[in-house]
Amino acid sequence: MTTNSSRAAGPRHKMVEAGVALLIALFGIVVIIGSVKAGINWGAEGPRAGFFPFYIGIFIVVSSVINLWHALREDNDEPFAEWGQLRQVMSVVVPTAIYVGAMPFTGLYVASVIFIGWFMRWLGKYSWLTVLGVAFGMPIVTYFIFERWFLVPLPKGPLEEWLGL
């Protein structure tokens, strides 16, 4: 697939829809397995822990099979989104994933400074001065509001340990 073709370049809506329905069905199956493990029959004190989730799981699977069938039957050949648009979306998802993944190791503050800085510099193309101002300003303000005023501890990494915060 080339990106410079017509406006319709991108994954088909139909396919994405079918994929989502399948994922939901899979989720339903996981729920059913988990419920069976917890016990789905009717015990001495009424229904056991897995009784309701089991039927919820069945509902999920059945309705997603119907949704899947609807999706595949549809003639609609519209694109889900253009590749360019999806790239935009990924340009947020990927850095956010890295940000979130790094948080347990670096702590919230260091990760946030880098994340905000990256976002503003690469997507917003702001001058370094503005970038650094916001990137450092926001976590510092956060520190005072959350940790100092409201005593909500946020995740900290080696830097905070070293600073003794």
Partner: protein
């Protein structure tokens, strides 16, 4: 008559200069707490509780209840501006509030939300003033079966028929129920659906799901449409407040209905969340602009906000007269009362008159002050939307991460939030409704618990049957309405 005298005495207590100052501080702190996801009203009150021990009990409870009001007001701000509800009961506010903001009507939406909150709270306070003892005995009627019936009613009046394909609605709602079931089953005391992961012990908190599905999902959709935040053209002067006020009296019926729903749900004590969903659902069905709901209809902001605040306020009554908290925030306040040596319960109204009426008077004044404070800030809030997207987006993402983390102090939840964000983006693009999913997460386990408690005890009685029938009527309202109109055309 005695109540009125007591109330005026209460005003005298609340209007002491120290108490007025305490009230203002409380409101401002409350708004900050409401705006920042991650600082809910409950932790705000809990964290500040120790600081209030050095004050007299009446001043302390005035400050804490003002934090509570402020947080209620503040919760609407992020819902409208960024589609991120900070509290469960602001979820329904996003449905029309956020579209309004996108259309450049953030100022109108905020004004409507704040004013409705005030109206709802005022209605509930008047009710508390006049009929407190009556209400307390009504609340005692509510056992598990009655509670289940109320949850059932909330679901029915909200779900009904929606634009989305019915099986997508069912799939979404059932996913919500399944997520709500994860963790400890409170009836058998057994773990379920955790698959041995200790991270799953807590289950899926509503806040994490909602920050992801609504907040992050929305940012992803905005990214797809290009790097811009719509709504930048929102008016940012105070005239918008007056203009909106002119249009509000037209919706008096919606307000009144929402007030009644809110008070009823607050006392039962099902709480503010079902109240806001129910009120929104019913307004959508009854209003002549019903089809416009979800696209930025001001009535869709008025209905949930009024009901949520009426319920939030009315919930304080069972707390004072029975000692049962109607919300997590109320639970913390209750703990505070005990620490000050005040025992909530039937005797509080008799033995601690000054305290009780001081608190009730502060509800009037606190709400009024709160309204003035937040309304003057409407232009400032609306101006936030003018900040360029590439600055505000990372800041929102970081705040979302903090919000998700602070629910259980767990970085696992932050990852979960991102997963919910991507899922929310996909679901929204595929036309799955997100609101039933969130409603199911919030109420699912409570409804199941009440249902199974009633299985253990007894089930049917007139109150339960009445509420259930109301629920069924709400569920099939569109069909009934259609039947009526057909009947009418047939006879004509």
């Amino acid at each position: 008559m005695e109540e009125i005298v007591n109330l005026f005495h209460g005003f005298a207590v609340a209007l002491q200069p120290f108490n007025i100052m305490v009230m203002l501080v409380g409101i401002v702190l409350g708004v900050i707490i409401g705006v920042l996801p991650g600082l809910g009203g409950a932790n705000g009150v809990a964290i500040l509780l120790p600081l209030t021990f050095s004050m007299p009990p009446t001043s302390a409870i005035i400050m804490l209840s003002c934090i509570y009001w402020g947080a209620l007001f503040g919760g609407a701000i992020t819902s409208i501006l960024f589609n991120i509800p900070g509290e469960p009961w602001s979820v329904a506010t996003t449905f029309d509030g956020y579209p309004m903001a996108q259309q450049g009507k953030a100022g109108e939406a905020l004004t409507a939300a704040f004013t409705s909150s005030f109206v709802g709270a005022l209605f509930a306070v008047v009710m508390i003033t006049l009929v407190a003892p009556l209400v307390a005995s009504f609340a005692l009627q509510f056992g598990p079966a009655e509670k289940f019936a109320v949850y059932f009613l909330a679901f029915c009046s909200f779900v009904g028929l929606s634009k989305e394909p019915p099986f997508k609605t069912i799939a979404a709602m059932m996913m919500g129920f399944a997520l709500a079931a994860v963790g400890l089953d409170s009836i058998t005391g057994q773990l379920r659906l955790t698959f041995g992961f200790t991270e799953m012990l807590n289950g899926f908190d509503f806040l994490i799901a909602v920050i992801g599905l609504f907040g992050i999902g929305e940012i992803l959709i905005t990214m797809e449409e290009g790097l811009s935040f719509r709504g930048g053209k929102a008016k940012i002067d105070l005239r918008v407040v007056l203009q909106t006020w002119k249009s509000l009296p037209a919706y008096w019926m919606t307000s009144l209905r929402s007030c009644v729903i809110g008070c009823w749900m607050g006392i039962t004590p099902a709480g503010a969340t079902p109240a806001s969903f129910m009120s929104y659902g019913i307004a959508k069905r009854v209003s002549k602009n019903g089809n416009n709901f979800g696209k930025g209809e001001i009535e869709g902001v008025i209905a949930p906000e009024t009901a949520a605040h009426a319920a939030g306020t009315a919930a304080l009554l069972p707390m004072l007269s029975l000692g049962v908290p109607g919300s997590p925030t109320a639970a913390v306040l209750l703990g505070g009362l005990l620490i000050w040596g005040l025992q909530p319960g039937p005797m509080l109204f008799v033995e601690q008159k000054e305290f009780v009426w001081g608190l009730i008077a502060s509800m009037y004044l606190g709400n009024l002050f709160g309204l003035i404070v937040v309304l003057t800030c409407v232009p400032i809030f609306a101006a936030i939307l003018r900040v360029p997207f590439s600055i505000i987006a990372p800041l929102i993402l970081v705040l979302c991460a903090i919000g998700a983390y602070s629910v259980h102090s767990s970085t696992f939840d932050v990852m979960l939030m991102l997963v919910f964000g991507v899922v929310g983006y996909l679901l929204k693009k595929c036309n799955y409704p997100l609101a039933p999913l969130v409603l199911a997460i919030v109420l699912g386990d409570k409804a199941e618990e009440a249902f199974r408690q009633s299985l253990l005890g007894s089930f049917s009685n007139p109150l339960v049957s009445t509420i259930m029938v109301l629920g069924l009527i709400a569920l099939f309202w569109s069909a009934i309405q259609e039947g009526f109109s057909r009947l009418r055309t047939a006879t004509a």
